[in-house]
Subunit: 143 residues, 2 copies
DNA sequence: AATGCAAATGAGAACGATTATCATTCACCT
DNA sequence: AGGTGAATGATAATCGTTCTCATTTGCATT
């Protein structure tokens, strides 16, 4: 019971087609948590599961609208997607190796609501990324 | 003494040309604090100060590298620039009217350093935008 | 299992933002 | 004023993404 269930798709109003199952399966495989359209496209190509690039873009957007995926706009121009696990979190991105770490800090979260309220805004959502240097062994950390 | 000082440019290693003075002057005029390349281009056109779009892009990047401007990547694809006033701040963007409000919260700032440190990162910088609905009179706030 | 049809796909064109090219013009130092 | 290397601007090129549309597919119905 660890394969992409077509029910997942039917439940959100999307007919379960081969391209959609492959793309969802790739995210569920857990190999790579945060992937761009290009990442997904190349990954599928590499395993012989050819899916058109246009379809990848379309499906990723549909999955996001259906709540299956979450889209992030990190620096670098391209959108990145990840499985929606229900719980919100923010990201730390290593400027050297691109490694992404996730975190959640309730103090930061509540402070944002407070600040917004004081300025007369009703928060919809937010985007927080910390850009830093990580200490991973393979990281070509220069400083 | 409220006009763009050519010294500003010389001091950061940029020769003071007409296009550069016009662009810097526009930001210093205080009319609009956050502007995209397109915003700057159109603003200059509207006052007869024609500057090529390529030059606008080039100069904005140069000003950012020189520390005169700060670049932000809000949602919507295009980069937005603002005068660098030395002090860091984050933004609340209204999803309806695009109105941008600035804020600084030391609790949020310090919490970020702490979170990063615990994960073994040395913070370089960060990007925080709150997307919300504002209460401005002219805002076509739908909800 | 064959049929029908709306929905999905994929190749390629189109698009918007940004960057690269390169011939012409300009800022600034003799 | 003249010389030179940097800056400009028109345009082509690039990148990520969306659009178009002819073809294929999922799936409900015979
Ligand atoms: Mn994540
Ligand atoms: Mn600002
Ligand atoms: Zn958060
Ligand atoms: Zn901040």
């Amino acid at each position: 019971m660890d394969k992409s269930q077509p029910e997942n798709l039917k439940n959100v109003g999307l007919k379960s087609t081969l391209p959609r199952l492959k793309i969802l399966g790739l995210f569920e495989s857990g190999q790579e948590r945060h992937m761009s359209a290009e990442d997904v496209y190349k990954q599928l190509l590499s395993t012989g599961d050819d899916v058109g690039l246009a379809t990848v873009y379309r499906v990723l957007t549909q999955f996001q609208q259906a709540g299956l995926l979450v889209r992030h706009n990190f620096e670098g121009g391209k959108s990145v997607f990840e499985l929606n696990q229900g719980k919100h979190h923010d990201h730390i991105v290593c400027l050297q190796c691109g490694h992404v770490e996730e975190f959640y800090d309730s103090a930061i979260e509540s402070r944002q609501k407070k600040v917004a309220a004081e300025l007369g805004f009703e928060v919809h959502d937010h985007s927080l990324q910390i850009y830093a240097d990580c200490t991973k062994a393979k990281c070509p950390n220069k400083r």
